[in-house]
Symmetry: C3
Subunit: 210 residues, 3 copies
């Protein structure tokens, strides 16, 4: 189980580091501004999660892994952009890459957040589901607030909903019993990923006032 | 006493859920964006309060009450607006309703924050008063930052001051002794409510540089 | 050692209180808005630091010192501006004063954050250094987000880098042994201060994508 959890934590960190670095570059920040934004996006949600669950010091500070990983990814993205390696790539394709990274991060961190919430307080279902949501959207909210955009979670068609449904699915599988526990993470991951991808692909949108 | 505390916690949650939902609608968000904004406003201040006092997991996650309540309120507000039930209401009246909800939330959460601060560390008066202020203005600050407005607390004429005075009043009554303890909450609530209402009504403003 | 730590904590609080108050005045806030902004800037970074290290209630609430100090400074700055005492001072000189205050705060809080991180978990070097950085830039980020500016740390030439280097220097000196421990704070302080001052003076900038 710890292996699976670490896998999703690393996957989410990489994905959000990419999304944070891309936003920093689009805002013409210098390399350190980009790094700070990538770090806030990649480890911000996890720090809030660990504070809310009383896991002090937060997981991303206990090992150099996540900070080093985010730093390396930021420098790679920066190098690719500076040397215009992607210059033949259309803007539409880059936008798709951004959305893919963001969705992978959303799905991965829904899983890690819900897992920690469920392990800590299995008696509070809403805690596990909300912690999954906060972990998944927290880093992106910090990224967007720092870059002065209205957060995606408030504006994009299908963003918070997949994470909430994924958290519920996780919880339902996890309470069945220890025999099915190992299925909760991957199924929840695919539910979130799949639902948001469908939302993006078909431009689904939820009702507005007008 | 627990009854009174829960009463103010529920009242504040309802009031701030309304204020958050109204801001979300005015920003033309979809139903889930509005819900996320209403939740951030209604339970954000309380989560910060619980983290600062070491109350983990935060109160709003221990029971479904506050999240469910906020969700129901958001759907009701959304339904009312979508069906234009208030269409004959003037903009001025709607603005008054928003200010009333926001003031009820400010007063209620000043009380719940100061109570928790006082119970946890009665030896630090500034902690109780500041915790009341942070609880009262925290949700609104999150709401305004997410919706990209300069927070009311920094701009509006009389906003933080009533909460600070209410917290001082609470503290002074509470330290008199156990016999007067039950008076601290309601008196503090009315002080905050009354002072801000006077501020709004008479357009009072504090000095500026120019 | 406690004396030195308190010295830097007070110096950082004063410096950031000044920077927060100046931003509030430039945004034409009233006296209470300015006070809330100065408080968020001066004690915000320290509160995040204390929450991340599990130091509850945060240091700034355990004594009235920091809140009272920030309040007094805010009123002094407000009085100076309102009475145009600095009216013969050029805008360039005022800007320099702002940068000086901000740099003193950055250097002081790098020291207090790294010290607390190192004392709490000497086995996690990244924790101490990151905690120094978060403490140093946290208050300024809150100030800029509340005042709706893109945070300095993401935009200004040399801002996060001096704090990170200062944290590394602190850590390296502190692990040598108890005999050199007393040198870590002042040397780290001067490294941060000196590096950022050089960055400002020579308009150094880090690479951008274009």
């Amino acid at each position: 189980m710890i292996f699976l959890w670490t896998f999703f934590e690393i996957a989410g960190t990489i994905a959000f580091a990419i999304s944070g670095a891309l936003v920093g570059i689009s805002r013409r920040m210098d390399i350190f501004g980009i790094l700070v934004l990538a770090l806030s996006t990649a480890i911000g949600g996890g720090i809030i999660r660990d504070v809310l669950v009383g896991n002090i010091p937060p997981n991303s500070f206990k090992t150099s892994l996540y900070i080093v990983l985010t730093t390396v990814i930021t420098f790679i993205i920066f190098f690719i952009y500076r040397n215009q390696i992607l210059r033949y790539m259309s803007r539409r394709k880059l936008r798709k890459m951004y959305l893919l990274a963001d969705t992978l991060g959303l799905a991965s961190f829904t899983v890690t957040g819900t897992t920690i919430g469920f392990n800590a307080y299995p008696e509070y279902p809403l805690f596990a589901i909300t912690l999954g949501l906060i972990t998944a959207v927290g880093g992106g909210i910090i990224r967007d607030v720092l870059a002065q955009r209205i957060p995606s979670v408030l504006q994009e068609e299908i963003y918070a909903l997949p994470s909430i449904i994924g958290g519920i699915v996780f919880y339902l599988i996890a309470i069945i019993g220890d025999d099915y526990w190992y299925l909760a993470s991957p199924i929840s991951f695919f539910v979130v990923f799949f639902l948001r991808m469908i939302g993006i692909y078909y431009h689904l949108s939820l009702p507005k006032v007008r």
